[in-house]
Amino acid sequence: MSAPLLGKDLIGLEHLTREQVTAILDTAEPFKEVSERPIKKVPALRGKTIVNLFFEASTRTRISFEFAEKRLSADTVNVASAGSSVQKGETLVDTARNLEAMRIDMVVIRHGSSGAAKFLGDRIRSNVINAGDGQHEHPTQALLDLLTLRDRFGRVEGLKVCIVGDVMHSRVARSNIWGLTRLGAEVAVCGPPTLVPREFTDLGVRTFRRIEEAIEWADALNVLRLQLERMQAGFIPSLREYNRVFGVTRERLARASKDLIVLHPGPMNRGVEIDSDVADGPHSVILPQVTNGVAIRMAVLYLLAGGSPDWAAGGSDEK
């Protein structure tokens, strides 16, 4: 029997091949239709038990994973750090091992520390899916962004995609850069030097310091949420100032010589990084992104559930 496509875990896109990324997107296509059925459920993961382990706040991602799991007929349990033994000081591994002792099959983890997902994946038998770890990666978000781009343009190769905003602190930005470059897109980043440090050019992306230049260059903008705590930390002078210089506004989009689409991973700060009439306007693919998120997560769950019995042989990263 041939090897499973994805190995045991999905930690990030950095170590996936172009073929693996493309296979996930292709697998997501038929799953789109499942969510349009009168009975939105297929029995593919019947009998699998999945734990959603969320140590950080999340609405969209957690609900999206939960829908994906339920539509595949898996049984799911949600664990949030508040109100659990995590508050009593239990370590991540102890929490996971206790869950595993109850015979679970997969863990979806969101954690504030970069590397938490891999750390966990290397220590438990269950499949681990990274739903965002610190500033490291958020692979399913990038995959749904790629699927949305492919829906709109018919391809990802050759597209010019600019990631705008707080790139430095963003796991969405990192996963997007890996995924986009792997599929042959041109990638740029745009933002103030405090949030878009020069190191990103090492990843093979170009840097714009003016949003107008980015809009003129790009086929698609992926606008990141400006995390408000950054302002207190002194990365930007004020929200209004940020909006004036880097905000994606209708006026700026209207001046561009070609049509482009605007993505946003959510949650949005309307009037800060993106104006309401852009978020709700014809350029926006923000809601299609959310729809695609369920299909992508179904595809990842389905592919990983193939299992890899030789997990202990050489760790999880046999990609």
Binding site: A3, P30, P43, G47
Partner: protein, 162 residues
């Protein structure tokens, strides 16, 4: 095509929907539909079933089978649904197709039409319309070629050490 005319005989008065099982059943259904429409002098619904997610061997470890698209017309309740596939063997694919159709609605009747019946059933399933019956051994492979996918039409019986 004889299969098409036998489907016409089974058609009855309720709305008729012909669905092919991915992948070669879809091509066969595509050829059957216009013949049936001409004979019945009415429109026939069409659809396709990607039964992968309903397979009973999906929990087995290993490579995930490719998932194919499912498209069924909405008016499936009360209709006569004809499932079309290329080869009928264990019957497990048909079992999956029946379960998947049940998740979309409640047809008045479901019929099964296959190009080749090679025997070897593992479930109590029989076809209503059979193109040809072939006696085979468990190790044999029966492969149907359709020009849309394979470049030519035909049925091959592959027997090891034959």
């Amino acid at each position: 095509m004889r299969i098409a005319s036998e489907i016409v005989e089974h058609a009855g008065d309720s709305p008729l929907i012909i669905v092919g099982i991915q992948r070669r059943g879809v091509q066969l259904a595509g050829r059957i539909v216009p013949i049936v429409e001409q004979a019945l002098e009415r429109k026939v619904g069409r659809g396709m079933l990607g039964i992968t997610l309903y397979r009973d061997d999906i929990q087995a470890a290993g490579q995930r089978p490719v998932v194919h698209e499912t498209r069924l017309p909405p008016e499936i309740d009360g209709a006569t649904v004809v499932i079309v596939d290329d080869v009928l063997y264990t019957g497990r694919t048909v079992r999956a197709a029946l379960d998947e159709i049940a998740d979309f609605g409640r047809p008045r009747r479901i019929l099964l039409a296959v190009l080749v019946d090679r025997g070897g059933r593992e479930l109590p399933i029989a076809a209503n319309v059979v193109g040809m019956t072939v006696a085979t051994a468990p190790g044999d492979r029966v492969e149907v070629r359709v020009s849309e996918i394979d470049g030519s039409d035909g049925v091959d019986l592959l027997r090891e050490d034959g």
